[in-house]
């Protein structure tokens, strides 16, 4: 690991100032991804600002919904009564990720900041535009079984590997950010992550030194009918091959509102508005679900080794919608 200066921060303002002033500095929260990547020399910060002692771990009921602190641990978030009761989809997504140990360490802000699990990104002997811009993409014509089927570019075919953000997108969450000038701004979660285009080194739309302080969840009518389905190589403790966050608002078997957000198929959580539109106003039947699934995958462009994700994605959507209809229990 490259050596780095370590400082413990006690207030958000100074933490943001310190990181903003040094291009090579990073915030340290749970460290479950950052420390791992530093050991691999993928991340090489010269300074870490430990923000785990900042007062940003509360989960509160606020006007219009619930606010979740950026430094609340994944475990505490998934188990908080406000989240379990009102946003079970979020609890499910968090609990589908990693292991108990990692969820005890990982924070909500850090979860949004986690980087791709593309093996070419992790292997510093391989070319990777995300890690070293201009070196090429090893996965484009290499082993790309776990890679994107939507929204990729010839510069990068990596996926965003997380679960939590997919649920947050389905729940219309907003990310509250503190900037270097002391101002706060809010980004809808769908605009937080970005597509790779010509600069895949940028995973998201944060500026250097900006700090996530909270995630805001608006009230909704999805709590009775939502489900997070994660398909992976083994039953637990693995990243998704395809995951689906589904949420339905149904009245007298007619769908009023719907959400279909896919994970691990693109550089960001991938929502299909077209598929949702097929559901709206229709009865919640298997036939409707099949049509929606078909529509969600219509524009998929699989690579050499991941065509399976198209069929898997369709089936996952149908199953997740069925599970959501039956109350979203596991």
């Amino acid at each position: 690991m490259k050596s780095f200066k370590y400082t413990r921060s006690t207030d958000a303002a100074s933490a943001v100032q310190t990181v903003s002033a040094n291009k090579g500095a990073k915030f340290l929260a749970g460290g479950t991804n950052l420390i791992d990547l530093m050991k691999e020399y993928v991340e090489r910060p010269n300074e870490l600002v430990d923000i785990t002692r900042l007062n940003l771990a509360q989960i509160n009921s606020v006007k219009g919904g619930v606010s979740i602190g950026a430094l609340a641990k994944n475990t505490d978030t998934a188990n908080h009564p406000l989240v379990r009761q009102n946003y079970p989809l979020l609890s499910q997504a968090i609990l589908a990720g990693a292991s108990a140990q990692l969820r005890n360490m990982a924070t909500n802000g850090g979860n949004l900041m986690q980087r791709t699990r593309c093996q070419y990104f992790y292997d510093v002997a391989m070319p990777c535009n995300k890690r070293e811009p201009g070196t090429g993409c090893g996965a484009l014509e290499g082993l790309n079984r776990i890679h994107a089927i939507f929204g990729y570019s010839d510069k990068c075919v990596a996926t965003y590997p997380g679960d939590m953000a997919n649920a947050l997108y389905a729940l219309d969450a907003r990310v509250k950010i503190r900037s270097a000038n002391g101002q706060e701004r809010t980004i809808p979660v769908q605009d937080f992550h970005r597509l790779p285009e010509n600069n895949p080194e940028k995973d998201n739309n944060l500026q250097h030194g900006e700090l996530i302080v909270a995630i805001e969840l608006p009230k909704n009518n999805f709590a009775n009918k939502s489900y997070y389905l994660k398909v992976r190589d083994r039953a637990s403790y693995a990243f998704a091959l395809v995951s689906v966050a589904t949420a339905l608002d149904v009245n007298k078997n007619q769908i009023k509102q719907a959400r279909i957000v896919l994970g691990s198929v693109a550089h960001k959580p991938w929502r299909s508005l077209e598929a949702e539109n097929i559901l709206i106003g229709r009865p919640a039947t298997d036939e409707t679900f099949q049509q929606a699934a078909q529509m969600a995958m219509k524009d998929a462009k699989p690579l050499a080794h991941n065509a399976y994700k198209v069929e898997l994605g369709k089936r996952a959507i149908v199953l997740a919608l069925q599970k959501a209809m039956s109350g979203g229990t596991a």
């Binding site: 050596s3 370590y6 609890s91 499910q92 609990l95 360490m105 596991a330």
Partner: protein
């Protein structure tokens, strides 16, 4: 650290070399130039029945020795950078450390505090062998910077037993054969002990059917235990025993031990049968 090694070697008896080894020593003039401690190293290895292998090791060590910077140093010194002062409690004992900001909690435990119960498996958060309990929560020591542990309370596998009494989970692992090679066991134990608390507090897992109702003192099924322990990989595949051990401690219901040692009489009987086979 170096002093401890010196002490260790001083207390060793001068080993006896076999005739072959003495012959080899005379045939390898370079080895004759070695200092006292290296001869002891060779002899110690030879006493362990590793004569020729030890000579190979010694040849390698000579190459390494030429690379050493400090005369007589057992290990090449590594320069510490960005030293951070940390006070933390390990198994109830206050510790003050000054260490490089890069040192993981895992390395601090093993290399600085000689608490080698916590094991290094993958060293990158994929196996769970390094699981310890920090402020009541199971975490991975390999992905935890010691610098970030200021003021925290750490429990390692060494801290589970009370005096000479095993933690009920440790006793249950033995009873239910919850390990084979034992390398993942310290992590499995810390993980399992923390799991008991999580179940008491009503925390959910991916296997929990209904997340919207929250009850305390959960009664975990086998599937629940497997899911909750998925962060601890066991290469020997001792999972059935691990789940049985956790289930027993968690439920408080004693279950039968499904293995026992073979008795002398049974061994004798087996020997008789073998002889009978030979006659046939």
């Amino acid at each position: 650290m170096a002093d401890e090694f010196e002490e260790f070697y001083k207390n060793l008896e001068e080993p006896e070399l076999t005739a072959d080894e003495k012959e080899l020593l005379t045939q390898m003039p370079e080895i004759g130039e070695l200092g006292e401690s290296r001869r002891k190293f060779l002899g110690h290895a030879a006493a362990g029945g590793l004569g020729l292998f030890a000579l190979q090791l010694l040849a390698q060590e000579q190459v390494l020795a030429r690379m050493q910077t400090a005369e007589g140093a057992l290990f090449a010194p590594v320069a510490e950078e960005n030293v951070v002062a940390v006070r933390l409690q390990i198994n109830g004992v206050e510790k003050s450390l000054n260490l490089d900001s890069r040192v993981s909690l895992l390395d601090a435990l093993r290399e600085r505090m000689a608490l080698t119960g916590t094991k290094k498996g993958c060293d990158q958060g994929q196996c769970g062998a390094c699981t310890v309990i920090v402020d009541g929560r199971r975490v991975l020591a390999c992905l935890t910077l010691t610098a970030s542990c200021e003021g925290k309370k750490v429990t390692t596998v060494e801290g589970l037993a009370q005096n000479d009494e095993l933690h009920p989970m440790q006793a249950a692992f033995i009873k239910h054969d919850g390990f084979q090679c034992g390398y993942c066991t310290p992590g499995q134990l810390c993980s399992a002990v923390a799991l008991l608390e999580e179940a008491k507090n009503g925390e959910a897992s991916h296997a929990t059917a209904n997340l919207r109702t929250k009850a305390r003192n959960l009664k975990l099924s086998g599937d629940e235990i497997r899911e909750r322990m998925s962060g601890n990989i066991c290469r020997c595949g001792a999972y059935p025993g691990i789940v049985a051990a956790i289930q027993e401690v968690h439920s408080g219901r004693e279950t039968a031990q499904t293995w026992r040692f073979v008795s002398d009489e049974e061994i004798a009987a087996l020997n008789t049968e073998e002889k009978a086979d030979e006659i046939v």
